[in-house]
Symmetry: C2
Subunit: 160 residues, 2 copies
């Protein structure tokens, strides 16, 4: 299938040449996820990165006590890339991504992504920048959460 | 100055073509930092990424109470890239980097980095992957810290 129109809607991809978006599109796999089901699950292996093109997903993490908490919500079209971390470092999934409503996402695995970057490096640079911005946002969000929980811990200790 | 030999020591850059490393080298600025001084300071503006080529630095963060804690230590030659986040997203410095001993680092600013990636996209892809791996490691380290502090918080609440 041709996903060029869907990819074109991602702001940072708007400047990628049509020919390269077509090549990228040919590598993508479509995945449909029903409301309430997981697109990816924390702790699993998997090296695919996803672009959400329909619906909304929650990024969910588990505490050591098994409670789930939502760390972010992603909408198709805007901030819509996920799973990029395991694709970059081949480590386990760091969070669960759960469909908040019926969703459609497109995935690319690490091997195809590397091939794309090597064969179309100009566009590879654009994709890797997009991933970098996403990862940087995640680091900063993690820092904010840590600061908040740390403050709560100190307050608990002081009011003992 | 020619920093090709220093750059060549970074594992992920070992496969970058000599010509491109020379071009990259021509964009680098050398910075010497005395033991105990900051290379970069949390909260400051600045869009340079650094490669540590001599010495050791601590990555230090401040709690809201002003206490400093070391989140990582970097050595020249191995895990030696820092400051990449503010270069990627143009936001403020998320941590202080303090020289544990006299240090030499090489910096590249965002404009030159973008120029390098655009003019030498094949090597740009390699650099951006290196940055991605670094950022992914930071996200995972942040997750681990958050889990630890969260657990401590719950234990504090339960033993009240």
């Amino acid at each position: 299938m041709d996903y060029v129109a869907s990819l074109r809607k991602i702001p940072l991809l708007s400047k990628v040449e049509n020919e390269d978006l077509k090549f990228l599109s040919s590598m993508l796999k479509e995945k449909r996820t029903k409301k309430g089901e997981n697109v990816i699950t924390e702790g699993d292996s998997g090296d695919e990165m996803y672009v959400l093109i329909e619906g909304t997903v929650d990024i969910v993490k588990k505490t050591i006590y098994g409670d789930e908490f939502v760390v972010a919500t992603l909408d198709a079209g805007s901030n819509c890339v996920f799973g990029e971390m395991a694709m970059i470092d081949s480590d386990k999934r760091s969070a669960t991504v759960k469909a908040k409503e019926d969703c459609v996402s497109l995935s690319i695995n690490r091997k195809d992504f590397d091939r794309f970057c090597n064969e179309r490096p100009k566009s590879g640079v654009v994709l890797l920048r997009l991933i970098g911005i996403n990862l940087a946002r995640n680091v900063r969000a993690g820092n904010d959460n840590l600061r908040m929980v740390y403050q709560a811990l100190i307050e608990e200790i002081e009011t003992k």
